[in-house]
């Protein structure tokens, strides 16, 4: 085969590969847009102030998602409160402090495996530990703890990836100037890896906000027409309310479900937006 023919053939491969790639992108975009449009078209007309400040009701047009979104808000608050410090500190320890031996390796493998465990398993474990052994009841606190366990592995892995990405030369420079390990972590490692950690945290929280199965297992409720006063109070969350409405026979309830879906999606998008802003600001500040 002549050189020209070889070049031509390879260029053709190149062309077809890019065509296939574009098709793949278009396909996933199309599927996503269809889903979003369908949800938005049905759900957005249902949104109103009343929908946000009413409790569930047997009349679809009077029903609202107050207890559901307040529940989601508190559960996410508790989850973030517990999982973020635990996750980041564990990740830092494993990457910066832990001796590299068999035990550390064993722990690392297990953490990576944990992030792939189905959420219902966490629900069952939480039912046994938090509800039955520790008597925390079917409360907001139990839900927060359960979801924290669920997303801890994700935060730990993300923290480690972010910390690992910092060049060793930065650490060495810091030590050379006489900084202790803690000073190095505090002034260099943490600030530089903050963008990556924040992204991991938000991805983890976005997963938690849509979880239904482990919360149903620990005893989240469906009808609840009052707001929690303390973290020991019963609760419901948006995905559970959504699921209940979509499984009702009357079409009016399906519209409510779409409305709740739009709100849930908006919350997730907001959280992602915050992550992107944080990451952008941090990146701008770092000058090596």
């Amino acid at each position: 085969m002549s050189l020209a023919a070889l070049v031509r053939r390879n260029k053709q491969y190149d062309f077809w590969f890019s065509v296939i790639s574009i098709m793949c992108v278009l396909f996933s975009l199309l599927a996503l847009t269809t889903l979003l449009l369908d949800l938005a078209l049905e759900g957005i007309p249902r949104l109103s102030l009343n929908f946000l400040i009413s409790f569930p009701s047997r009349f679809a047009d009077k029903a609202g998602i107050l207890s559901a979104w307040v529940g989601t808000f508190w559960v996410m608050f508790i989850t973030a409160f517990i999982s973020i410090p635990l996750g980041i500190l564990s990740g830092l320890y494993l990457e910066e402090y832990a001796p590299k031996n068999k035990l550390t390796q064993f722990i690392e493998i297990n953490i990576s495996n944990l992030s792939a465990v189905p959420s219902i398993i966490f629900g069952l474990m939480a039912l046994g530990i938090f509800v039955h052994s520790l008597h925390l009841g079917q409360s907001l606190l139990t839900a927060g703890l359960t979801l924290s366990l669920l997303i801890l592995p994700i935060i730990i892995v993300a923290t480690r990836e972010a910390v690992r990405a910092i060049p060793t030369s930065i650490r060495e420079a810091s030590y050379a100037l006489g900084a202790t390990q803690w000073q190095t972590v505090k002034h260099h490692i943490l600030p530089y890896s903050f963008g990556g950690i924040a992204t991991g945290v938000i991805i983890a929280l976005s997963r938690a906000i849509g979880e239904t199965a482990p919360l149903i297992t620990v005893g989240a409720l469906t009808f609840i027409a009052f707001l929690p006063h303390s973290f020991m109070d019963p609760f419901t969350v948006l995905p559970i309310q959504l699921f209940n409405w979509i499984s009702r026979p009357q079409a009016e309830f399906h519209v409510n479900a779409a409305g709740a879906g739009v709100i849930l999606l908006t919350l997730t998008l907001l959280m992602n937006a915050v992550a992107i802003i944080i990451r952008y600001r941090v990146r701008k500040k770092i000058t090596w």
Binding site: L221, T222, A225, D233, P249
Partner: protein, 326 residues
């Protein structure tokens, strides 16, 4: 370090904040009964102006009974009578209960509105279609009856975890959970509505309320009853027992210890007196006024236990059962 102390302090303050001492009624159980209990709870809370709080979960009849028998809930929603096993669990943990039928549900056999040739079915025909031996053998309509077309038989039905499945299989095949497996099974009845509605060769069974909400897509099939009459499900035929054997009662079970709390007693009394108006609003079939009266008597006389002995009675009239027990 200061910020860390603040962090811990904040968390402790928020977690241990006031234990609000409002009175709480805990209900869990079947998602079939849920719409009725939701309606009653909504009205009851409005009536009590926030002094009593009611929570309702949907762990399913089986899952709910587990909690009920551990004494974690005050009231249990059930789409079937308590089973023998559950009776034993409750007995072992010393939980006594009062059984109160609160409405009817009717399993409705449906075909698509596009189906022009099927309007009634007999029990032997249903058995021929649904029995376990029919699996992979009865696959065309004309195999059931010669006059029917030579088109594929497409079946839709409840998933094996639902009370509807238990009841239907017992009524048709004589044994709970005995069914052919090669049909489209779904726990989500709306999926069944879509499936049956699109296909002129489809046949499926659904709770009555799902048929009612989707009359534009579905056609109900009349069932030939023991008196040899083809009966369509309707409010009238379900209550007077003509639509048999597919009309069944649904229940609430009340923990006797919980009943000593005035708010629980109030709630159950309210439930039974308001059911007549609230049940139709959520598209279920109410019992007769006489039956609710019998329920109230049961409650006042503190009549403990079940009248079913752990089995579903097929094709019974709730009125007869309620009256026979005292």
């Amino acid at each position: 370090m200061k910020s860390f102390k603040l962090y811990v302090l904040m968390f402790m303050v928020t977690t241990s904040s006031v234990f609000a001492q409002t009175r709480l009624i805990k209900i869990d159980g079947s998602s079939t009964v849920f719409p009725i209990t939701e309606a009653v709870s909504e009205e009851f809370q409005t009536l009590k102006k926030g002094t009593v709080q009611v929570t309702v979960g949907i762990s399913g009849t089986g899952g709910g009974f587990k909690k009920f028998c551990r004494g974690e809930t005050d009231i249990q929603d059930a789409s079937r009578p308590i089973s023998k096993e559950e009776m034993k669990t409750c007995k072992d943990s010393g939980i006594q209960y009062i059984e109160l039928p609160i409405a009817y549900d009717a399993i409705t056999l449906c075909v698509s509105q596009k189906n022009t040739w099927l309007s009634e079915l007999s029990l032997p025909e249903l058995k021929k279609i649904w029995e376990p031996q029919a699996q992979r053998k009865i696959i065309q309509w004309n195999q059931v009856k010669k006059e029917w077309p030579e088109t594929p038989l497409k079946l839709f039905g409840a998933g094996s975890d639902s009370g509807t499945f238990d009841y239907f299989t017992e009524a048709v095949n004589g044994k709970s959970k005995a069914s052919r497996g090669d049909y489209t099974a779904s726990e989500d009845d709306n999926t069944l509505v879509l499936g049956i509605g699109q296909d002129p060769n489809a046949l499926g069974y659904l709770p009555f309320s799902y048929y009612e909400a989707n009359k534009a897509k579905l056609k109900a099939i009349a069932i030939i009853n023991t008196k040899n009459k083809a009966i369509l499900p309707s409010l009238k035929t379900i209550v007077n027992g003509a639509y048999e054997p597919f009309s069944r009662p649904i229940f609430i079970y009340v923990n006797v210890t919980s009943l000593k709390k005035s708010e629980v007693k109030d709630y159950v009394t309210f439930y039974l007196t308001q059911a007549q108006t609230l049940v139709p609003q959520v598209k279920y079939v109410p019992l007769s006024p006489k039956a609710y009266q019998a329920d109230l008597t049961r409650l006042q006389k503190n009549k403990i236990g079940t009248t079913f002995g752990g089995e579903a009675h097929i094709g019974m009239k709730i009125e007869d059962l309620l009256l026979q027990t005292h």
